[in-house]
Amino acid sequence: MNFRWPRRIVIFHWVSAFTVIGMFASGLWMVDLTYYSDWYKTAPHWHKSVGLLLFAITALRLMARAATSRPPSFGNTVEKTLSHVGHALLYTLMIALFISGYLISTADGRAIDVFNWFSVPAFGELFENQEVIAGDAHFYIAWSLIVLSTIHVIAALKHHFLSKDDTLKQMLRLR
């Protein structure tokens, strides 16, 4: 049995963590850019590109995670149950975020260019007023994900500093 997370899982985790934080910040910032800002076109382009790449990375991550048995977990039954629910919800919110973001930009049938490397085709308008409904959903899901991620961080720190167990070290590969 592993005593810590394998390297691929650790890399997936931290890449996702920093990308999600960066995407949240850039998302909030870019919707308030003025029309004459140098970033007016670039920021949304990069936001969409990174988001779709993270979508692909997350798909690989879920496959890798499914093929990996977890190292020992700590805490009582309630904590373990909450942990399972919390992690499932983190993944769910991320996927919902990818889908809602995709639905905004593809509502008129336009494909999304990923850094001008390739483009992801659209399904077109799947429901009325799609760009607005998907946009509202994207906003609230993003906030939910950030709030839950914060709880996730607090829980990890609690394991490390209060319970003094190896939960955080398992993800930092320090043990």
Partner: protein, 188 residues
């Protein structure tokens, strides 16, 4: 809204005994409300409102007695680009959550001859009502092939976005929007 429209239509028919009442054929899409605005001063960006309805009364012998009222569903703005439409519907522009309807109600018509007229009235957009003048022209009227009677007009007007409390800075060339209305009414 429907009741109000009907009440207005009824009031119109009382006020102008001779004028015929028409319902704008938005159902059959023989009417459109288009807009255009300069992009950076380099080209025109055009779009339209897909959902609107309205009525008018018109008599060729008494054009100054004509009346028109149109209500527009602002959420139906369509500039052929979903991301832009999302921005246009947001509180940077139309704020369609708070102001789902725009409206024009004519107050006075000045006949300029040759089927042209100035249609003055109150235009409500983004919660602001201001008087505007639409330069209108009759295109034609007569029987349609399906037993009805139709009359059609086009009109243009220019509004300043700032007048309606829309102050997102699109640059000096994009302070005003031209509205172009094409309406064909079916006689009731």
């Amino acid at each position: 809204m429907k009741k109000l429209t009907l009440a207005l239509a009824a009031a119109l028919s009382l006020g102008t005994a001779q004028a015929a009442d028409y319902v704008i054929d938005s159902k059959g899409a023989h009417a459109s409300i288009n807009f255009k605005i300069q992009h950076l001063g380099y080209s025109w960006l055009t779009g339209r409102f897909n959902d609107f309805k309205g009525t008018f009364s018109y008599d060729d012998n008494a054009p100054t007695a004509a009346k028109i009222m149109v209500t527009i569903d602002t959420d139906s703005i369509d500039s052929n680009h979903a991301e832009r439409d999302k921005h246009l519907k947001s509180d940077d522009f139309l704020n369609t959550d708070d102001y789902p309807e725009a409206k024009f109600v004519s107050t006075k018509v000045v006949d300029k001859g040759d089927g042209t007229m100035d249609v003055m009235g109150d235009f409500t957009l983004h919660g602001v009502t201001k008087p505007i003048t639409i330069e209108a022209k009759k295109i034609g009227e007569g029987k349609d092939p399906w037993g009805g009677y139709r009359a059609g007009f086009m009109g243009t007007t220019t509004i300043a976005l700032k007048d309606y409390g829309i102050d997102y800075d699109l640059g000096p060339a994009s302070q005003t929007v031209e509205l172009e209305l094409h309406v064909e009414g079916v006689k009731q």
